[in-house]
Every structure is written in structure tokens, then in C-alpha cells.
Symmetry: D2
Subunit: 146 residues, 4 copies
């Protein structure tokens, strides 16, 4: 397993293909087995009490793992999540969240791994959420043409 797309290529791809998430998530690093992604937390991500909503953390986990997959296999953007199991561990303080996605198995049809989410303000407090994720990999041939 080795990345074939760079940080810039991944962010450009997301910008082009997923305008809905523009400005919400950024790949900051490509690692040996995945990526690191940052989510600047916005008003719409907040819940009463100043904490970040569960669906926003889910979106970060899902998007980070998607980018980890594309980093390894290239822009087969029609790949889709089949399963995600997320544990919410601590109430995150207001502030950016950072998701570290790691691929544990990259098969022909399925890609499985996990994502650890930390609060950028208080990384020493341990992860705020942990997700395991499975993606069904789009075959090369069905990929939409530009």
C-alpha cells in the first residue's frame, strides 16, 4: 500500500467533485496507511453547551476515510460507505477537530479501517471519537468520465 495522490491533489479533487464540502474539510497529511484531515468547526457544527455535534464528527470520519482510500487507489470517486460504527468518547471543546484515518485492509472490493478524532485544542485529553469504516470500492470501469 502506497499513496499515489498528494495532499494537494486530494484537496483539489474534493474541491472539484464535492463542492458541498468545500471549506469544511482539508487533508493536511498523507501517511503510510492513510491521511490526516482537519475540520475547522463552524456554527452549524455546534450543539447546546458548546460541543461539536455527532453528525459533524461522523462526517469528518467518513470524509477522512474516503480521502485515505482515494489517496491509495486514485480518483475512483464513486466508491461508497457501506458501514460506519462510531464511538463518541469525550465532549470536544470548541475548536478544530483532526481526524487520522488508517487503512487496515485494502481489498479489491472492500476497504476497511478506522479513524481517530482528536480536538486540536486539547490533543492530550485523548480521542473525542473513534470510528471504524468500510467502503465498497468502485470498479475502474464504472467511474464517471469528466
Amino acid at each position: 500500500m502506497q499513496a499515489i495522490l498528494s495532499v494537494n491533489e486530494l484537496n483539489d479533487l474534493a474541491d472539484r467533485e464535492f463542492p458541498q464540502i468545500r471549506g469544511r474539510f482539508f487533508v493536511t497529511e498523507v501517511t503510510d496507511d492513510g491521511v490526516v484531515m482537519r475540520m475547522p468547526v463552524a456554527e452549524r457544527d455546534m450543539r447546546p453547551g458548546g460541543t461539536v455535534s455527532g453528525p459533524s464528527m461522523f462526517a469528518l470520519a467518513d470524509c477522512a476515510f474516503y480521502m485515505a482510500l482515494l489517496a491509495m487507489i486514485g480518483p475512483r470517486t464513486l466508491s461508497v460507505t457501506t458501514n460506519c460504527c462510531i464511538d463518541f468518547l469525550r465532549k470536544p471543546a470548541p475548536g478544530d477537530l483532526v481526524g487520522t484515518a488508517r487503512i487496515l485492509k485494502l481489498g479489491k472490493r472492500l476497504c476497511v479501517g478506522d479513524v481517530l478524532i482528536h480536538s486540536d485544542a486539547h490533543p492530550e485529553e485523548g480521542p473525542v471519537a473513534r470510528a471504524s469504516v468500510t467502503y465498497a470500492i468502485a470498479p475502474e470501469k464504472v467511474q464517471a468520465q469528466p
Copy 2:
């Protein structure tokens, strides 16, 4: 287990406490063991290919189960999701989604159950997603005062 809040009371409560989700989710029925919730799908919920995004379906599952819990125990709104495991089964067609939340165990501290999500346009095609959800129930005393 018996509901102590009505459809109107639940929707009023959501409106008051969670302005961020106003207009996104509506309780349409309170059942013996949960609620039915409708999500009118908007532009921001869509993905390329005309399908509904995973995080939007997660938000529906999470919110429907939260309302099922509050229907049974009243407005202990500080209850929080501790775990959610979601399977994405079919690509939903564009159109409203309907989530049916059912409580399987209502304990003192934890509430566990599941949510089936159907496409309102094509309910006969079977569920588009299935989630199991666990909430940690807020103690009565820590509930925020109005």
C-alpha cells in the same frame, strides 16, 4: 415503556432547543416503542449522482433515536449518543427519507435500539439504511434549567 410526549410536544421541543436542525427533521408519529421521523431532503444533503449523503442519513438516524428517547423519558435534552453503527444498504432516490426508531432497551443509564430508514418515494424497495444507536441518558438533576 410508554410515551409521555406527543408529536407536537416533541417538535416544539426540538424547535426550541435545537434551532440548528429546524426544518430538517419532523416527528410524524409516536409509536409504542419509538417515533417515526421525516427528513425533507435538501440540496445540501445530496451527493453527485442524485443520491443522499451518508452523513445526512446518519443525522436522521441519530435525531430520530434521540426523539424516541425523549418521547419516553421527557425533555432530558442533555442525553448524548455514545455509539452508532450504520449500514448503508441502497442508494436512496431523491426525495424525502423516513426513519423509524425503536427502543429495544430503556435502562437507567443507557438506551439502546435501532432505526430503519426508507425512501419515501420507493418504500417497497426495502430500507436504504439501518442504524443501531446507544444513548447515555442524562440524569434528571443535571438537566439545564430554562
Copy 3:
């Protein structure tokens, strides 16, 4: 979706192919979307305090869903579990357990559904466990020959 194997055919198949589980699990009913399976609880399934062990309940869930899949597609016995997520809800009393497996999606490659487990002694107390299960379906051609 319609079953093509009967209760007897399923139990014979299990006996022949999985001698390790002989006497542990029995299909008692084939339903529209799955099967009902009984596990007579034995000494080795027990834990201190007279309750049934988690791994034994997992084995029941896994085996019941496997039989539900084979009931629908025939004896492609090389199909394997890819994911199982189980919630333990109540301590089961000593006595047989009954698992009801239901298929929510039967695709070409993946089969997804869930299993509810009740205590036969006290079905009115609600389920003792709930599992969601995904199987990777063995292609017809790779199936081992008798």
C-alpha cells in the same frame, strides 16, 4: 427474496458441513426474510452468576444469519462474515436462547441484516441481544465440490 431451502435441509447441511456446531444450534423456522434458530444453552456457554457468555450469543447471531443467507441462496457455504456489531441488552436467564435473523438486503456480493436474541424462558422481558451482520457471499463457481 424467497427461501429455497427448508428447515430440514438447513439442519442437514449444517450437520454435514459444520460438525463443530452439531447439537449447538437448530433452525426451527424459515420465515419470509430469514430464519429462527434455537441454541440449547450448555455448561460451556455459562458465566459466573448463571448468565450466558457474550461469545456464545455472538456465535448464535452469526450462525443464525448464516443460515438465513443459505436459506435464500442455497448451499454456498464458503460465504463469510465480514462485520458483526452486537449490543448486549440484558443478562439472559439460564435456559435456551432463540435468535430471529432477518435479511434487510440481499445483494450480489454482500448480504446485510440483523438478529434479535430472546431468552426462551422470559421472552416477555425483551431481547437480550441485538446484532447487525454482514456476509460476503461466495460466488457460485468457487463453491467447494462435494
Copy 4:
């Protein structure tokens, strides 16, 4: 978080309290955030094709996480699994399995973490399974007396 029980103390505890698992699982290391546990694979753990059964891998994950919890909090043996989500990633070769349990959050009531399982024969092939686990921690007072 710091372990208060040693490898020997944990194995003695398991031997005393859980005679059913005697000889099936051994703690081999106590780490900063959990334990490493070995499962010598026996005939009853095998499936047709020479692979290890899913329920046996589940039992390893569950037991390893239980020991990780007890290592940190002492012998509150009435703690119970509330949720376990396991992904089966590769068919393990015949031979011992090794589970590495790590605690991500040790709260007052719930302990959450994950377990990676490798084949001892082929650790370089990547994990054969990955589980996330939640335990409900037994209060000190309800612990059974010796």
C-alpha cells in the same frame, strides 16, 4: 491510566474466576494502555478450509479487552460487555492468534477501546480482525466477595 495488575496476576485471576476459558487465552504483556493476549488455536476453533472461526476471534477480542480493563481497575470481574463491533479482514492461517487491546477511554461507568488481532504465523500480512469494544464497569461495591 496505569496498570495495577501484572501479567501473572491477570492470568491467575482468569484461572480462578473463569475456569471455562482456562488454557484458551493468556495475557503475555501489559502495556501503557492495555494488554497483549495470545490464543493457541485448537481444533474447536477451526472452520472448513483450515481457517479460524469468527466466534473464536470474537472471544479473543472480548477477553483481551476485559483483561485490559481489569489491568487498569483491578478485579471488578462483574464488568460486562455492552457492545462489540468486529470486522473480519483476512482469513487467518492455522496457528496462534495474538490480540492487542488498547483502552481509548476509561470513564467511571464505561470503558471503550479496540483490539487488533494478528496471526502469529504471518504478522506481516496485516491484522486478521479488528474490534471495537465497550464495557460497563462494575461498581466497586457490587463486586462479589471471595
